[in-house]
């Protein structure tokens, strides 16, 4: 007698966003390669740079966040994801611990750290060619935060996939395990912080 076919799982909805990151983690999602076809049989993609949808169309099962929070828009998006996703995943070192953008946290110990950082970046730095001698201040630009925050310091994060960028394998295995309800942590030899 043949085994009965497993009951078909309802398709899951996932959403992704890149905050203060380099889009490398989204590139790493593409590193899943041909297994993306397998994954796409299991999920629909809602709000994401991959679909170019800018807003949630409905509640999602899994939200994937790349990058930490360096400005108010990042915080707004992250809150929006927490509100609209059952499970929120921080993908990559920037989302987990601030990553490269967080390098500014450690150098900012003066009385006006943000100003000092912007002055060096746009006016006084030795390699700057800024003919207007202004710090960008268009009202459309999101305001910078005093520091770069890891996602887990802003909202509750359910899972963190480490790596810079995470390998396609760890992303695929983790998503696959979460979708089938079998996630029990990472294989130790897959954990990388670089």
């Amino acid at each position: 007698m043949t085994e009965p076919a497993p009951p078909e799982l309802p398709r899951a909805r996932i959403a992704t966003a890149s905050l203060a990151g380099c889009f490398g983690c989204h590139m790493a999602i593409l590193d899943i390669d041909e297994r993306l076809i397998e994954l796409m049989n299991l999920v629909d993609v809602d709000r994401s740079p991959l679909t170019d949808k800018k807003r949630f169309t409905q509640r999602c099962d899994i939200g994937i966040i790349e990058g930490g929070c360096c400005n108010e828009e990042n915080v707004h998006v992250l809150h929006d994801f927490r509100r609209n996703c059952d499970v929120l995943i921080a993908l990559g070192q920037c989302a987990i611990m601030g990553g490269l953008p967080a390098m500014r946290n450690a150098i900012m110990h003066s009385d006006a750290p943000l100003r000092e950082c912007l002055v060096e970046a746009y006016i006084s730095g030795p390699y700057i060619r800024n003919t207007t001698h202004n710090i960008p201040n268009d009202p459309a630009l999101p305001l910078l935060l005093d520091e770069v925050y890891p996602c887990s310091q802003v909202v509750e994060i359910d899972y963190q996939i480490p790596g810079c960028a995470p390998s396609g394998d760890i992303i695929f295995d983790t998503l696959g395990a979460l979708l089938s309800g079998r996630f029990r942590g990472f294989e130790r030899d897959m954990i990388r912080f670089d």
Partner: protein, 242 residues
């Protein structure tokens, strides 16, 4: 090994496994010889034991002791890989990460770093509950062949012991107390000391993190092909187990 020591052998257990030890051996020395890995950061082969990082904490006779300094005792039951101890070690390693500025993606020691490798071994992947201290610490690139990025120093003191005991120099030493205790160089800057790139204290295996940097060799081995990309920290000790 003298016959005298062989005569004084005894056994104790680690997680129920019988381990042979000689009088005067520490728990960690006996465990290493038997192929049982006890995580450690401040201890290093060839240097005297210090027992300061506490990552090697085990329960011996119900008490928490550092395995690198505690002598093994006949018949003693030692707990090593229990959920409680693993969690405590993971928290310790996480706090070491948060006490300095450990940005693995920009660190040239990534992949060779024992702190990072310990985080891999201890599954340090959950969302953190500790604040980041983000200290402002100096970078000393004054020496022609060596740089010190003290943002990454975990104050394990391995360079201190290597410089004093192996090189006979005393280039490094502790200054300050409590959380302000830091490893400092014996002079205003490293270039003022008699440190040389050939010193044991400067060699790659002594500094467990990316604080002591040998200039011009940082990326000779690319990321992804380094020591702990090839296996978990401690696997070479565990492979001794019969």
């Amino acid at each position: 090994m003298t016959d005298n020591r062989r005569d004084s052998s005894f056994t104790f257990t680690i997680d129920g496994v019988e381990i042979k030890a000689y009088a005067g051996q520490t728990i960690m020395e006996a465990a290493d010889a038997a192929g049982v890995y006890i995580p450690r950061l401040c201890d290093h082969q060839g240097l005297r034991h210090q027992g300061s990082c506490r990552v090697c904490t085990v329960k011996a006779g119900g008490r928490s002791v550092s395995a690198c300094t505690q002598p093994a005792a006949p018949g003693q039951g030692v707990e090593n890989e229990t959920p409680h101890l693993t969690k405590m070690r993971r928290d310790l390693v996480e706090m070491l990460f948060h006490e300095g500025n450990h940005l693995c993606p920009i660190c040239e020691a990534s992949g060779n770093c024992e702190l990072q490798a310990m985080a891999y071994r201890l599954d340090m992947t959950d969302a953190t509950k500790f604040p980041y201290l983000e200290p402002c610490r100096p970078l000393d690139a004054s020496h022609p062949d060596i740089a010190l990025d003290t943002n990454r120093c975990i104050s394990c003191g391995r360079c201190i012991r290597a410089s004093q005991d192996v090189d006979g120099k005393g280039v490094f030493g502790y200054v300050g107390r409590g959380i302000h205790r830091r490893v400092a160089v014996n002079g205003d800057k490293l270039a003022d000391t008699n440190a040389e790139v050939t010193d044991h204290a400067i060699s790659r295996e002594v500094c467990p993190v990316g604080c002591i940097i040998r200039k011009r060799v940082g990326f000779v081995t690319p990321i992804g092909e380094r020591e702990f990309d090839k296996g978990l920290i401690g696997h070479e000790i565990e492979e001794r187990r019969t």
